[in-house]
C-alpha cells in the first residue's frame, strides 16, 4: 500500500539532472511483486549504486526500485570460482569475498570504481582495462534471473531465453529486474599487481605502447592531458598492470579515505587549476617505465579514495563524455576529438584513453567495439557545454562510432540510433512496464 515514496533525492553521478521519483527500497526480493503492482501505470526502473553519470539510471516522475538491499550472496564455489549473488551485491563485496578465499579469484572485468552493483555491471555491460583480453562483464555472466513487470521470473543464459539474455546484458535496465546472476570469477595468482607507468608525448606513442603491451599485460589504460595541443595532443601516462603472486599479506580493500560532504563552489575547478593539476600529474611519471608491485585497490580504483568526488563540480554538476571510435579511423578521429576539446579548453582534469579488443559481448546493446575509447568530464556550464558535446557527437558519428549510455545525459536520438542500428531489435525485447528518462529521449517514441 505504501511501498512507493515520492522523493527528489535520487541523482545520478553527474548531478546535472534533478527529477522527482517514486522510490521503493525493498529489504528482500519477496517485496518486488507488490511494488510492481503498486506502480499502476507508471513505468519502473531498477537503481543500483547510482554510478551512472547521466539519465540512463533515472526515470523522471516514475518509479525507481532501489536494489541495494537485495545484496545477498546465494552461493560461492571456491573450487570453480562460480559466484551466485543477488543483483545488489557490490563489486566491493565480491572483492572482499575474493580476499576471503586467499586471493585465488578475482573479478573477471571491473570498471574504474568498485562501488557498483552486480545488476548495474550487467545492465551497462561494463568494461575494464582488460577489455583486449577479457571482453565485457557480460562475457562472464553464466546466467541471470530476470523478473518482468508482470511478476514472472525467467532464467536467462546464453542457451536459455537467449534473446532476452542478450537484451538484458547491456540492456540499461529496460528488460526487467535482474534478481540475481551467476558469474565466473577469474583465477589469479594473487591480489597484488605489478604496475608500470610510462610517460609518453604523442598519440602515436600511445598506440605503439598499446600494441607492445597487449600480449604481456592484462590491464592497459592511459590518462591523458586534454589541454595539450598540436604535437602534444594525446600526451599522457600509459599505465599497464598484471596480477602477480606475492608472499605479502592480502592488501586492504579501502573505503574512501576522505569525502566531499558538500558541493564545491564553481570556481574551485577552472582552467588554471586544471592546467596546473594536469601538468603536475603528468610530470610525476617517468619516461623510463617504473615497475612496482602495488595493491590492486589503488591501481584499479584510484578515484575511490575520495568519496563523492563528483561534488567537485559544484551545484550544476557535470557531464561525462565517453565514445568509442572503430579501429579503421581511430587515430584521426581521436586526434580530431582531442583537438576539439583542447580548443574549447574546458576538458576536465584528466581524460582516459584506451583501446578495445575484438572479443564480442553477448550484449545486444553493449557499448564496446574494436577501436579506441575516450572518456572525460565536463563541468556543466549549460548551453556551451552541450554545444561542445554535440560537436564531439558529430565527430564520433562520422567516424562510425557511438557513445556510452552509462555516461550520457544529453545525446540526440538521431546520434544514438546511428551508433546502435540494432536498437529497433532491442526495442522489441524491452519490458512494456519499464522505461527510463534516457530511453524516452533516445529510443522508441523519440524523434529520430
Amino acid at each position: 500500500m505504501d511501498a512507493l515514496h515520492q522523493r527528489k533525492d535520487a541523482l545520478s553521478w553527474g548531478r546535472a539532472h534533478h527529477f522527482t521519483h517514486h522510490i521503493a527500497q525493498p529489504a528482500f526480493a519477496d517485496e518486488l511483486p507488490t511494488i510492481l503492482k503498486e506502480r499502476g501505470a507508471r513505468p519502473v526502473l531498477a537503481r543500483g549504486l547510482g554510478r551512472s553519470y547521466g539519465d540512463s539510471g533515472l526515470n523522471a516522475d516514475n518509479v525507481l526500485i532501489d536494489m541495494r538491499a537485495l545484496d545477498h550472496v546465494r552461493g560461492f564455489n571456491p573450487d570453480t570460482g562460480v559466484l551466485d549473488a543477488e543483483a545488489g551485491v557490490t563489486l566491493k563485496d565480491i572483492l572482499e569475498l575474493c580476499a576471503q578465499y586467499e586471493g585465488r579469484w578475482f573479478l573477471p572485468v571491473t570498471p574504474g570504481t568498485k562501488f557498483v552493483t552486480l545488476g548495474g555491471a550487467i545492465a551497462n555491460d561494463v568494461h575494464g582495462k582488460n577489455h583486449h583480453g577479457a571482453g565485457c562483464f557480460g562475457n562472464h555472466v553464466l546466467s541471470l534471473r530476470l523478473m518482468r513487470s508482470d511478476g514472472t521470473v525467467l532464467t536467462c543464459s546464453p542457451d536459455e531465453n537467449t534473446a532476452l539474455f542478450r537484451a538484458t546484458v547491456g540492456g540499461m535496465g529496460l528488460t526487467g529486474l535482474i534478481l540475481s546472476a551467476r558469474i565466473a570469477l577469474k583465477s589469479v595468482p594473487g591480489l597484488w599487481v605489478e604496475n608500470e607507468d610510462i610517460r609518453y608525448d604523442t598519440l602515436d606513442e600511445f598506440y605503439a605502447l598499446t600494441n607492445d603491451s597487449l600480449e604481456g599485460w592484462e590491464y592497459t589504460v592511459a590518462w591523458i592531458d586534454c589541454l595539450a595541443r598540436g604535437q602534444a595532443t594525446g600526451r599522457g601516462i600509459f599505465s599497464r598492470s598484471r596480477h602477480i603472486a606475492s608472499s605479502r599479506p592480502a592488501p586492504p580493500i579501502r573505503d574512501p579515505r576522505i569525502a566531499l560532504p558538500v558541493n564545491l563552489p564553481n570556481i574551485a575547478l577552472n582552467k588554471i587549476t586544471m592546467a596546473a593539476f594536469n601538468a603536475l600529474y603528468i610530470r610525476r611519471a617517468r619516461r623510463k617505465p617504473t615497475r612496482k608491485a602495488v595493491p590492486f585497490d589503488g591501481a584499479f580504483y584510484p578515484l575511490d579514495a575520495i568519496g563523492q568526488f563528483n561534488r567537485l563540480y559544484g551545484r550544476r554538476g557535470f557531464y561525462q563524455y565517453q565514445c568509442v571510435i572503430p579501429t579503421r579511423v581511430e587515430r584521426d578521429a581521436t586526434r580530431a576529438l582531442l583537438s576539439e576539446i583542447s580548443q574549447a579548453g574546458v576538458g576536465s582534469f584528466l581524460a582516459v584513453l584506451k583501446t578495445f579488443g575484438d572479443k564480442l559481448s553477448p550484449g545486444l546493446m553493449s557499448f564496446p567495439m574494436p577501436g579506441t575509447t575516450l572518456a572525460l568530464d565536463f563541468a556543466n556550464a549549460g548551453a556551451s557545454t552541450l554545444a561542445l558535446l554535440s560537436r564531439l557527437d558529430a565527430i564520433t558519428r562520422a567516424a562510425g562510432g557511438r557513445i556510452y549510455a552509462a555516461k550520457d545525459g544529453r545525446v540526440s536520438a538521431a546520434d544514438f540510433q546511428a551508433g546502435y542500428p540494432q536498437w529497433t531489435d532491442f526495442a522489441r525485447l524491452i519490458d512494456p512496464g519499464f522505461s527510463s528518462s534516457f530511453w524516452r529521449r533516445v529510443g522508441a517514441g523519440a524523434a529520430a
Binding site: H5, R7, Q25, A27, F28, D30, R74, G75, E96, L97
Partner: protein, 245 residues
Amino acid sequence: MNMVIFGATSAIAQAVARLYAKKGARFFLVARNDERLAIVAADLRARGAAQVETANADLADLSLHANLVARAQSALGALDRVLVAHGTLTNQRAAETGADVMAQEIGVNFLSAASLLTHVANVMELQRAGSIAVIGSVAGDRGRQSNYVYGSAKAGLGVFVQGLRHRMSRHGVNVTLVKPGFVDTPMTAGLAKAGPLWATPAKVAADIKAAMEGGAAILYTPWFWRWIMLIIRSVPDAVFRRTRL
C-alpha cells in the same frame, strides 16, 4: 566466536553479522520470516560463517522468548555476542489515533527487547563473559511531536540497557546501547536521503562491532550524533515547542 541475533533480517543486523562472518563466527539467527532467514543464512555462510542456525519467531510474542534463548544456547554453547536489532519505525499518526497501535509499537520496540534481554542476561551472568549490543535510537534522546511513540520506546529501552550494563559489569559481561542516527536502510525508505547526516548500514555496523569488542557504554553512530543530540536536548522548551522537528 558465537553470536545470537534477534531481528536478524534487519539491514543493520545483517551488516554487523557479515563483519563477524568474515572472521568465521557461528550464528543463531532469529527473525519472523523463514524465506528471509534462509537467504541471510546462505549469505553469511558464503561470507565465511562456520555455522548458521535459524529460528522463526514473532518477537512481539513474549511467551516464545525463554525457549528461543534456550535453543540458542543448545545450538551454540556459550553466547559470546548478542545483538538485539529488531524494531519498527512507528507510524506516529496511527499511534495517536488509538492506544492500540501505540501499545503494540511500545510492545515490539521496548517490551520485547527487554524481555529477551532478561533471559539472555541470566545466561550470560553465569557465563561471566561476553558482550551484548542493543539498538536504540537517537529518537530516544528527546520526545518530539513527529515520533514520540517510537522515541519513548527507545528511551525506555535505553534506561533498561543502562541498568543492565550496571548489573552485568560485575559479571564480566559488556552491554552497549547503540544509538544510530539516520541510516539508509529499507526502514527509512520514506525519507529523502541526500546530505551528510545519512550513513550506510556498513558504516554503522563497523562502529557497532568496534563498540561490542571495545565495551563502550553508549555508541552514537556515526559519532557526530552525540553532538547533534546534545544540542537538541539543550534547546529550551519554549523554543523547541515552536519547531516542527
